[in-house]
Symmetry: C2
Subunit: 282 residues, 2 copies
């Protein structure tokens, strides 16, 4: 056996991989890849991953990318159901207490939704219970913000987004807030719905004995120059899946009572005051 050749073992291999990162790699690249290699190797060692399981994992990751197209993002879905998306969210937003909370973007936002006016029905031709939306866009101090761009989207009363039904846009719109910061319009009551579960992530959920359901919610993406984007949902209180959201997206401050106005014979109403931080806020 020739001299001077290292044989890597399960103990010294991790160090060998880390030692290969070049001195001139960016400090952040070094930090991220060092942590990634350490944690992935620790995972493999901890469970003593078998060659057969490794092969299954390779197949899973390969399939993941193959399910992705312009209407389906299986990688984000995996991140969502493992709580990784909300963990990244929690870390990014843990310092901003005075503003509205964020949650996952989800895979159903679409570029260039129909441009709508306040008062315009966001779900033309869709049958179901009426839901009025009346939200205000405010700054951190509670002053109304005019002209904020507000993308809104939600499911049908059957729990399907428009993109799951065909190519036409519906149950989504892009509004501008009025002088009082108000965005107000009628739409139809959305429903709880399963995340797409006919692919590899659905198989993983089943294998863990987990359900695919998300509680009823309306998505909001608020943009205003000089302010930070706010991507969030508002959830309907009373939904049976609030404590079992497949993607861990529920936050207490984002759950509101939509049904109280019905006691007075009015339509169900989603009201909310969004407070968005300035771009330069701490």
């Amino acid at each position: 056996m020739p001299e001077g050749h290292i044989t890597y073992t399960s103990e010294n291999l991790t160090g060998a991989v880390l030692a290969r990162i070049a001195p001139d790699a960016s400090p952040r690249m070094r930090q991220v890849m060092t942590a990634l290699v350490n944690h992935v190797h620790d995972f493999v060692r901890e469970v003593e991953l078998t060659p057969e399981e490794w092969e299954e994992g390779v197949g899973f990751l390969t399939e993941l990318g193959r399910w992705c197209d312009d209407k389906r993002q299986e990688v984000i879905l995996l991140s969502d159901i493992l709580g990784v998306s909300m963990l990244v969210d929690a870390i990014a937003h843990r310092t901003h207490a005075s503003v509205s909370e964020t949650t996952v973007l989800g895979p159903f936002h679409r570029e260039n939704p129909p441009v709508m006016q306040n008062g315009q029905n966001m779900s033309p031709g869709v049958e179901g219970e009426r839901l009025d939306v009346a939200v205000r866009i405010l700054d951190e101090d509670g002053a109304p913000l005019e002209g904020a761009q507000v993308d809104v989207w939600h499911t049908s009363p059957d729990g399907f987004y428009d993109s799951q039904l065909g190519d036409a846009h519906n149950m989504r719109g892009r509004f501008l807030s009025g002088p009082d910061g108000l965005v107000a319009f009628p739409t139809v009551m959305p429903a709880s719905y399963p995340v797409p579960h006919d692919g590899p992530v659905g198989r993983l959920l089943s294998a863990m004995g987990r359900g695919p359901m998300r509680p009823t919610h309306v998505h909001f993406w608020i943009k205003k120059p000089g302010y930070r984007d706010l991507i969030t949902h508002i959830f309907r209180d009373g939904d049976p899946y609030l404590h079992d959201d497949a993607v861990f997206g529920v936050k207490a401050s984002l759950v509101t009572d939509w049904d109280a106005p019905k006691a007075e014979g009015k339509p169900a109403t989603l009201t909310y005051d969004f407070r968005i931080p300035r771009e330069d806020a701490a």
Copy 2:
């Protein structure tokens, strides 16, 4: 704010994800997913992964699957360059000291290679330095094994596998060992070569300041009913990349001197005694 809704934080989210694994999930699934969630969450917390970096990661994993086809396996390549493949190998084989060592399969094995006889040229029409291969297949006690199926494959003298040059099979073959356990044939001297680095994994290597090269080697996959498969390489001593293999596949016992016979005017020769374990070996 309605009562009873949890808001997940970067501290309590991991436990919430783990608590969702159902009691009737298989114990191994529970063990693997618990470790995976713990290590991935620890990674995200340790580096405080930003939403922009998360998005980059999602894009990377999505692209990974899209590069895969029947001639390219970018997920295995990622596993290889992060040392994960060799770690799985090290764990699987750390108990078998009396038999030949294993290394990565790599992405260039092909199903149904040309069936060849001992003595037959494995690289017809390929110009380059002659290499004679003369290996023996033995059991753990050193007794010769007749009739073992031995797949052999290597690059051209330019460092390309046949599949990188076209659809024709060359520089690969399937042999049966003779009564003395021998597989012997002439071929052409392979070369060091870069792992495929025009995709996302190549970008990652660059970002870490790492090279893509692998030292010169010949692949062997030995199968014999009643015995465990042996998947390995034999490396050429003196290769400048032996200490810098992009996939960490070198083991001291797999490096041999191919060039000694040239001093006596004979062709370069790769000799090796492979010892393969019985299926029921510990």
